[in-house]
Structure formats: C-alpha cells, structure tokens
C-alpha cells in the first residue's frame, strides 16, 4: 500500500515564482556589479552588454524588471524603452544615467514603473530600487505539490 501523503516525513515541495531581471549595461564594472548584487538578493539575472541583444531579449523573453544604462547610447535606450512599452504587460524599468545624460523621452504612461538613478550611485541603491519596483525576489507560487 502506498504511504499516505500525511505520513510522508519529507518536507513538501515549495513552488516559487522568481522575479526575472534583465541588466543591459556595456560597462565592464557596473554590469557585473549590479548582476552580483541582485543575484545575491535572490533575483534571477540575465546580463547583456550589447544594446541589440538587450532589445532582442526584452522583446522575446518575459522579465519583471529591466535595468538599462544610458551609456549604451540615447538611441539604444529609447529603442529598449519603446520595446518594453509595446509589451502587453510591460516590465518595470530602471534607467542608470550620468549627471549630464538624463534626457529620457519615454512616456511615463507607457511603462508601469520607471525609476531613474543618477550615477554615481551605490550598487545597493539599484537593489533598493529593484525591490521598490518589483518587490521581493521570489514569492510562493502555490503550496506544496
């Protein structure tokens, strides 16, 4: 006779939903640093250094948050934000901008949550902004299977 589920000593399986983050930053230090900080906080991370690849990923995959740097170029930033805004359920976005690079023309109504962080800022500021925009890194999807 198969043992009943109640008598199974093993802890029940937890199914969680991870928050997925895409970081698009060509900087050799900033991209890896943000990736590391967000991964340590528990988010699922993809890092790309190329604007075209970033555009492709944000079009083809589903992310909860996209972190994009203005250092990729104004045109690339606009293209990525436009791609995000076209999605049925657009992800939240964090734009990392230098003090003299802040010319984001994105319509605030098209993206549900947009945060702009001015550099220099701490890596922890990006983690705080991510947490504020999309919440905790993971949530229980349903109780034990």
């Amino acid at each position: 006779m198969a043992p009943s589920r109640d008598s199974d000593p093993r802890s029940p399986t937890r199914v969680v939903r991870l928050r997925k983050v895409l970081v698009i930053d060509g900087d050799a230090f900033w991209g890896p640093a943000i990736r590391m900080a967000l991964e340590e906080s528990g988010y699922y991370l993809n890092l790309v250094t190329d604007a075209q690849e970033g555009c492709r990923r944000s079009r083809e995959r589903v992310y909860d948050l996209v972190v994009v740097s203005v250092s990729l170029g104004q045109a690339a930033l606009e293209a990525i934000l436009e791609t995000l805004a076209r999605r049925v359920s657009p992800p939240a976005a964090i734009v990392l901008a230098g003090a003299d690079e802040l010319r984001v023309k994105a319509d605030p109504a098209t993206l549900p949550a947009l945060a702009i962080l001015r550099r220099p800022c701490a890596v922890e500021d990006v983690v705080d902004a991510a947490r504020a925009l999309v919440g905790v890194p993971w949530t229980d999807h349903r109780k034990g299977a």
């Binding site: 991209g31 890896p32 640093a33 990736r35 590391m36 900080a37 340590e40």
Partner: protein, 140 residues
C-alpha cells in the same frame, strides 16, 4: 601491461567522459561588488566555474561543501580573512590563493602561511586575474 582506462583517456573519440576534464572551479570572496563582479565575469568568460560572494561567511560555507582549485579573496574582508585562512590551512590539499591587496599591504601574503599565494595589487586590470588563474591551474 598497459591500463586500458589510461589509454582510453587520450582517445578523443571515446564516448566515456573524462573526470579530469570537468571545469575548474574558483571561489571569490570580496566585499567590493565591482571587483568581485568583474573578476567573476572575466573568469566565467574564460570558461571557469565561479562562485562569488561578498559575505565571507557565505564563502566559508561554500568552501565547506566543495573543493575549489583557486580561492581569490580580498583584504577588504577585514577580520573574516583570518577565519577563511584557517579553513584553507585546515584542508589536506589547500587550494591556490590569489590575494587582492592594496600596495601598502606588502606583508599580506606572508601572513597567509599557505604554499601558493599570488598577490595582485590594486589597481589591476580585469584580465590580469584570469591570466594568473590560467598560469596556476591551466586552461579550463
């Protein structure tokens, strides 16, 4: 008599996986996100398996459960360095160590009491650590 297993290892057409060919692993413990992140990316780009931590306690926990070929840590870990070094010294075969230190910390390597310690002084180029790793343990 020749050992057939050894002969087979040199045969690239062999379907048997060679255990020695598994990727070499590196542990990074560094409180600086930029340093740790960029070293990790550079080593992963070369094909090494990397486990990077900004908290020395997490790094030590990881060290307890698996072996690493190289451990790279920074002097910015503060008092945590002593505990990490104790763990490394306690191992039968201690891994090779890359110590990231400021220039004025000249005796940092001597204080490790480990056989292989390579000191990298700040500021350093990102690819420098990958070159040292390759020199120490070979290509991945």
């Amino acid at each position: 008599m020749a050992d057939s297993t050894i002969l087979r290892r040199g045969d690239s057409a062999s379907p048997m996986p060679d255990p020695a060919s598994s990727s070499k692993s590196i542990l990074i413990a560094n409180t600086n996100y930029k340093e740790a992140g960029s070293i990790r990316n550079s080593l992963e780009g070369c094909g090494y398996e990397v486990s990077a931590w900004t908290d020395v306690t997490d790094a030590r926990e990881r060290l307890k459960v698996r072996n690493f070929d190289v451990v790279s840590f920074s002097t910015n870990l503060g008092k945590g360095v002593d505990g990490l070094l104790e763990d490394l010294r306690a191992r039968k075969v201690p891994p090779k160590v890359i110590l990231i230190a400021d220039e004025d910390e000249g005796d940092a390597a001597a204080r490790c009491f480990l056989r292989t310690v390579v000191v990298v002084n700040r500021p350093f180029k990102i690819g420098e650590v990958a070159d040292i790793v390759e020199h120490l343990i070979g290509a991945p």
